[in-house]
Symmetry: C3
Subunit: 440 residues, 3 copies
């Protein structure tokens, strides 16, 4: 807000009429707006942080009991590494001085010097640390996708080295292209909360890893048949899905990046409603389809239907009507039901179904933006999807291959059989139940 000199009468006119004009400048004073926007980032960011627990529970429920402690370890470790790397490298690489280019600066994030902040303009529209926090939890989300796909056979430390590079460099670079105001932003690519920038980026990294790592022993037999290897705890997987659903309100809602106006608050409200509706439609669609196709409802498909609905609406949760949000989410549910068996045909072993959910539904959501947002353009959306997909796949594949031929990425056959908990951690997730109880 620039400080303008007004006659008293003119000033009063502005003051009385201002709140009546939606979104007009003088309406909410800078300090109040700063507080509201900052609080939005913190509360919504806390919800997104909570998604780390959601991925952990989802994955812990979807793996066999002999690998549960390891997947828990990987998830708390990757969230931690993401937080440290995004401070040390990622944030400034993604946001600092990209200006139409390909990446920002190789410096670490520091807090602004509060003593030097004198005016409202110095402060800006939100606290710098609140934006860092909100963006940091996003990169952790993307990293979580990788651990789910590659569960039950990847070594702990090599995965964490991948996460370190992924959260410090790969995600921030493609992030810079759009959210850092890089070349894709200039080109008009639209991705509101990250169907591509978060979910597909995680999905491509997971896909390249799954191809290079190979399937779990016993998942596919020589005749091409699929052996389901059911997860150890469906209630934990369900809990994880609900946690992710809750966290997604923060993920999409906070991506409005501001709260302090009629327009922003209304937008966030629509985003909440659309996000919920897309997820609900994904669940119902996946349930009805599995009932029709297999004569049984599949709970894991219902859960992945919810997540696919959520990923689908993430590229544009604001402009759709609530009905269009339902449609976009429903198609996400359809994608999951068809894509899970499709991956199996190619013997790509994705333990939790993360590739259909995050990559395929992410592509769908990104392509769907122009359906409701007139600023969107199908060709530009496709350009962004392909450019980001190519970059992430190539860099991730190189990294996976380097890891494979140096430290190795896969546990031995024996370790895979006895489970990663015994092999990698020397303990058991459930020592008194399941596999554990047989040893008592």
């Amino acid at each position: 807000m620039s400080v303008r000199i007004l006659t008293p009468a003119a000033f009063i006119f502005v003051l009385l009429s201002a709140p009546a004009v939606a979104g007009s400048d003088p309406a909410i004073p800078p300090q109040t707006a700063f507080v509201l926007n900052t609080f939005l980032f913190l509360v919504m960011g806390a919800l997104v942080m909570w998604m780390a627990a959601g991925f952990t529970m989802l994955e812990a429920g979807m793996v066999r009991s002999k690998n549960v402690a390891t997947i828990c370890t990987k998830n708390i470790a990757l969230y931690s590494i993401a937080g440290l790397m995004y401070w040390l490298v990622g944030y400034n690489l993604m946001y600092d001085g990209v200006s139409g280019g390909y990446f920002g600066s190789l410096t670490w994030f520091t807090y602004p010097d509060e003593a030097a902040l004198k005016t409202a303009e110095d402060y800006g529209s939100y606290a710098a640390a609140s934006d860092w926090f909100f963006q940091m939890v996003f990169v952790a989300t993307a990293a979580s996708i990788v651990s789910g796909t590659l569960a039950e056979r990847i070594k702990l430390w090599p995965l964490l080295i991948f996460v370190l590079v992924f959260t410090g460099f790969i995600y921030p670079i493609t992030g810079a292209w759009k959210w850092g105001a890089g070349w894709l932003e200039v080109a008009g690519f639209l991705d509101f909360a990250g169907s591509t920038l978060v979910h597909s980026v995680g999905g491509w990294a997971a896909l390249s890893g799954a191809v290079i790592l190979g399937a779990r022993y016993g998942k596919y037999n020589s005749k091409g048949q699929v052996n389901p290897l059911p997860g150890s705890s469906l209630p934990l997987a369900t809990l994880g899905t609900f946690v992710l659903w809750l966290g997604w309100f923060g993920f999409n809602g906070g991506s409005q990046l501001a709260l302090a106006s009629f327009t922003d608050a209304s937008a966030i409200a629509r985003i909440f409603a659309n996000t919920n509706t897309a997820a609900a439609a994904g669940v119902v669609t996946a349930m009805v389809m599995t009932q029709l196709m297999y004569k049984k409802v599949d709970l894991t498909m219902a859960l992945n239907g919810a997540l696919a609905g959520l990923v689908s609406i993430t590229a544009e949760p604001l402009t759709p009507s609530i009905g269009m949000a339902a449609l976009i989410g429903a198609i996400g549910g359809v994608i999951v039901v068809f894509a899970v068996p499709l991956l199996d045909k190619f013997k790509i072993d994705d333990v939790v179904g993360a590739i259909p959910v995050h990559l395929f539904a992410g592509i769908w959501g990104t392509l769907a933006v122009p359906l409701t947002n007139p600023a969107g353009n199908f060709i530009t959306q496709l350009t962004g999807i392909i450019a980001i997909g190519a970059f992430v796949t190539i860099v991730s594949s190189i990294l996976w291959l380097v890891l494979k031929f140096t430290v190795g990425i896969r546990v031995s056959r024996e370790d895979e059989d006895k489970g990663l908990d015994q092999a990698e951690l020397g303990l058991e997730a459930y020592p008194e139940f399941g596999v554990g109880s047989q040893r008592m």
Copy 2:
């Protein structure tokens, strides 16, 4: 806020003195108030959404392992169906043009045309979508109550058909009577956050279902003795209770419907404190009573004591002193301890104790309103309880009976024995533990 023409001096007087007069009009300007009220709905609504996970965990912990995946499926499905039906039918049926009558319009909810919103008055005091979101999560809560009572023997799809009608029509109609400004509102019936409108409505639907569906095989023997059939995971049931407790702050706090004034913010603070105190008193009372009556503390009674305390305070969480809140919650705890064995006497099989918690404590809470709120009237409260109870019971019973004599509502004896997870979903919640491990 109407735009008044003031002399500069008068205006300045208003501006300087206004904030000092609590709740006076000019205090918080419209745009700031709109943002605050909208944000209240979204944050509190997210907490209520989280209750869906709470019900899921509570119910997953209270059923036997052979039915856990099915109860998870039912819960994520009913939350999704509630969200879709409340958009397609429920919201406008409950709120649109009821004006003293019995129901609103049979139209679906749409977002306001933002382009047409020009003035602060057009916007109103909160975003339309934020209110929709907040009310939507309430209807899901009511539906969750039904699934808990009827667990372990009801078929999946018939339950979901019931949920579809319940969330689209039954709940919205009784909701319209009070919150939609219908005849009960005109009559002076008081129900702040829904002891009756949410919890008893769910409870009546559950009770009519339980009677028509019958008890689980093996629950009652021919001599009238009760076989407890303990739940598979008390930590998950405890987790669910904590989730519900947390969500209840949103449930009761958000029901103030506004945040942006001294009065509203103070009210929400009291509501939080009273809500917590009632739940705490419910826990302690249930624990002390089970210790005195049975010489052992019963964890499931403690959990249900918390929930009964919460339901009891829900009809009036604002006017009680903190001491009265404790008393109201404590009586909720007493009700649960006596009502659970009472239902067993009538061979009404309520798997999770939802009828004592939501129906009986809901009635108590509704009757208790006049104790602390001078605007309340015992006869009017009773009228509302009876009218809503009669309507929900009659309509629900008809619906249950129609379902029973068409598609059927109960699984076969064999399916009940082997568990709904095997029968209805063809999978297992815990394939390596319990029942599952015996098949390995």
Copy 3:
């Protein structure tokens, strides 16, 4: 805000320039500030309440299956008792009229008479009930620490009697010394969110209890070797850790006690970022150290590393740079890795590692304050740590001893062997799994 008489021109100058001066008085008007500060307390307090679920899941996962239902019972009971005692005694004992002394008044907390609140100054800067709520959830946190250490052998009711005295008297008295503006506040002791006042206080009470209660049978053999007695569910322990991590944003962020200014909102943002970074550093440090020391990563150490990082940063989450926050948290992680075996050397049996996490890292965090906060003083910090440690240890020890020699605090050897769930509650947490399934 005092009502000053200004000429129109002067007034306009104030209004236009005010928001530009960070933190200056007129910037956010009293009613808006009241609403924002109150909402901060409620939202952050809800996150802290959620930590009760976190402790419950952490402890339920860390005990053996035969004691899981009892630990759940203890946790929901202690949260409830804390809430009631803090209303009946604790809050006013901690805050009402301490003024440089040792404790406040022995009166219970009541809501202010809203009808008597006429001016903004009457209301103050936040709703009284919101502050009560926020402080109440803190005392519950401290009590949770005790139940974890003493699990698997302490009797239910004697523990709850201890909790009653602890939450009503012990915690509030030491709290009064600093946060109630007592003698330690006057002396210049610094403890932003309670590394000492909450975590060490809980830790000292747990330590004195552990010494007096003795170790579990079978934990240490006659040769001084340690038998690990692994917990029943590492995914639940992981979930609990994530819940605590999330809740800690409320714990530290809400302790800023105000939101409504540039300074406050910026401070809370830094607190969120520092809190997350310290936890992340604690995880990574604990993982790397266990890998180096034991050639295996230990998940429970990683979880406790997160918690130790969180406790460490709690005494001063605002003044550190993000790098210093990482260092402070990392040292917390180091402390845990060394302290857990150290306690075992002294045969102090701490089931969940709460003493290293909450007491030792709490001391470290309190001593670290002067490193980044120039207002801090090492000697004063040490004085506070010792004074509080001495008071809590002496009073707790007397109380444990009185309980030991009257009602007894330890279950019989037979009860400990068959598990507290059978002995104390007459039920099982997992009747179909583990120990339970062997009885089927």
